[in-house]
């Protein structure tokens, strides 16, 4: 009995010691997390370069995982589409006929525009070039809207460039690694894009709030807005080129006006990064306040 008790004592002590060490490491790690959060606020650029490195390191794995996911999604889509092929074909024929007419109009307007510009000696914006990239990760979560693409500094991506997919604006480049980059979507709560209502030329700011439809802010109270109005980038603030289509007004209420994006942001597979050769970095660092200056 005595021997047993003696043997048990060091074991109890060891357990107690283990508990203390565990508690200490818990408090230590809590402290480190909080310090990191504060550090991230102070030295945002340092954290950003760290993110870019980690993103680069995981790019091959994310790329590998995203490929089968895309294949499965495409397969499901094909099955869903087959049932609607006939109807879609009819729709596309009608749309094509209409677009052919539009094409004629556009060609005529372009010629007219060119001749008028030559009369005015107007200096056009530098021509844009596009960099295409595949979306390899869509971080889930309720509080952030961003995607990671498989293109980076090597491909010519720079922080602040506008990103489009299909026919509309998707977001802007916020972190650039060597061969990967993060794109902040226009729906993210910190995204602000200076825009114009295409019809009335009324200026506003498109502000994300993590929901699928961003809001229009700072419209004068007397401005005329209707559901269906097209919203395009205004180019104010010097960050985005002007005239990129963003979406259409989907809801006009007493307290808020919402915009429906032209692109289904949940389903983007490829994006195009717009390289306009604009001088970036003027208002890039401060997405909340910069636009208003």
């Amino acid at each position: 009995m005595l021997v047993k008790a003696r043997a048990a004592r060091p074991a109890t002590r060891l357990t107690a010691l283990k508990g203390v060490v565990q508690r200490f490491s818990f408090l230590f790690l809590i402290l480190v997390s909080i310090t990191l959060m504060i550090f991230g606020r102070i030295d945002a650029i340092g954290v950003e370069s760290m993110r870019a490195r980690v993103m680069d390191a995981f790019e091959p794995i994310l790329d590998a995982i995203s490929t089968p996911a895309a294949t499965v999604a495409r397969f499901v889509e094909i099955i869903a589409d087959v049932t609607e092929v006939y109807r879609q074909n009819q729709e596309l024929r009608t749309e094509n006929a209409r677009l052919q007419q539009w094409k004629q109009v556009v060609l005529r307007l372009e010629a007219e525009n060119n001749s008028l510009r030559s009369l005015l000696r107007f200096k056009p914006d530098p021509a844009a070039s596009f960099i295409s990239a595949r979306v390899i990760a869509v971080p889930g979560g309720s509080f952030l809207r961003s995607v990671i693409v498989a293109a980076g500094r090597r491909d010519g991506l720079r922080k602040g460039q506008a990103v489009i997919a299909g026919s509309g604006l998707v977001g802007r480049v916020v972190e650039v690694g060597e061969w990967s980059a993060r794109i902040l979507l226009v729906t993210d709560i910190s995204a602000r894009v200076p825009v114009l209502l295409e019809g009335s030329r009324q200026r506003a700011v498109l502000a994300g709030d993590n929901s699928s439809q961003p809001r229009l802010l700072y419209l004068p109270p007397d401005s005329q807005v209707a559901v269906g109005d097209r919203v395009v980038t205004s180019g104010h603030g010097g960050q985005f080129p002007s005239g990129l289509p963003v979406g259409v007004v989907s809801q006009v209420g007493e307290r808020q006006i919402r915009v429906h994006s032209l692109v289904n942001l949940s389903r983007i597979e490829h994006v195009q990064i717009v390289d306009f050769g604009l001088p970036g970095g003027l208002v890039v660092e401060d997405p909340l306040g910069g636009v208003m200056r």
């Binding site: 993110r51 995981f58 995203s66 889930g140 309720s142 699928s212």
Partner: protein, 171 residues
């Protein structure tokens, strides 16, 4: 062969299973789903994994590893650095303190415990997002996300039990 270098290597490799699975689930979580609205409410597989291993094999998923997994989630996910790390170690601490109860209880109780964990984690994340954006952010998406995470937990637990038996039944 027991005690030999190959055996040791085998044990070391198997001991990495909880960590490897959690990291893998974290990366799978990031894969584009191409489903409308899914990314807003994507269930957190890594949280399920950490909950499971903390109850069954906390020795193979130490707090420092959970911390690093949280940091990885922050770095890849784009959120404030340290936030998920904080949430995950708080989750592990809470579960560890009640581990004796969880080990002796039935699966429904385990599930119920996970309700508390998910709710707590979602609340901390919501609070942090609200503080960061100076307004109370909407709770619809986190609530759905939490419910989805809870709904998929039995399936994930089953997969984790299979992995547990396959890799760790001898060590």
């Amino acid at each position: 062969m027991i005690g030999g270098p190959l055996h040791k290597l085998d044990v070391a490799g198997r001991s990495l299973a909880p960590t490897a699975m959690t990291v893998m689930l974290l990366l799978v979580n990031l894969a584009p789903s191409h489903m409308t609205g899914y990314e807003r409410v994507a269930p957190s597989f890594a949280l399920m994994s950490i909950y499971y291993w903390t109850i069954h094999r906390p020795d193979l998923l130490p707090m420092s590893v959970v911390f690093v997994i949280g940091l990885l989630q922050d770095l890849l996910g784009g959120g404030p650095l340290g936030l998920n790390a904080l949430v995950l170690i708080m989750v592990q601490w809470t579960v560890l303190s009640q581990r004796g109860f969880f080990l002796s209880s039935t699966f429904p109780m385990l599930w119920l415990g996970f309700v508390v964990v998910v709710a707590g984690a979602a609340f901390v994340l919501w609070l942090a997002a609200s503080i960061a954006s100076f307004e109370l952010v909407a709770i619809d998406a986190p609530v759905i996300q939490g419910l989805l995470t809870l709904a998929l937990f039995p399936l994930m637990a089953w997969l984790l039990i299979l992995a547990h038996r396959a890799f760790l039944h001898q060590i």
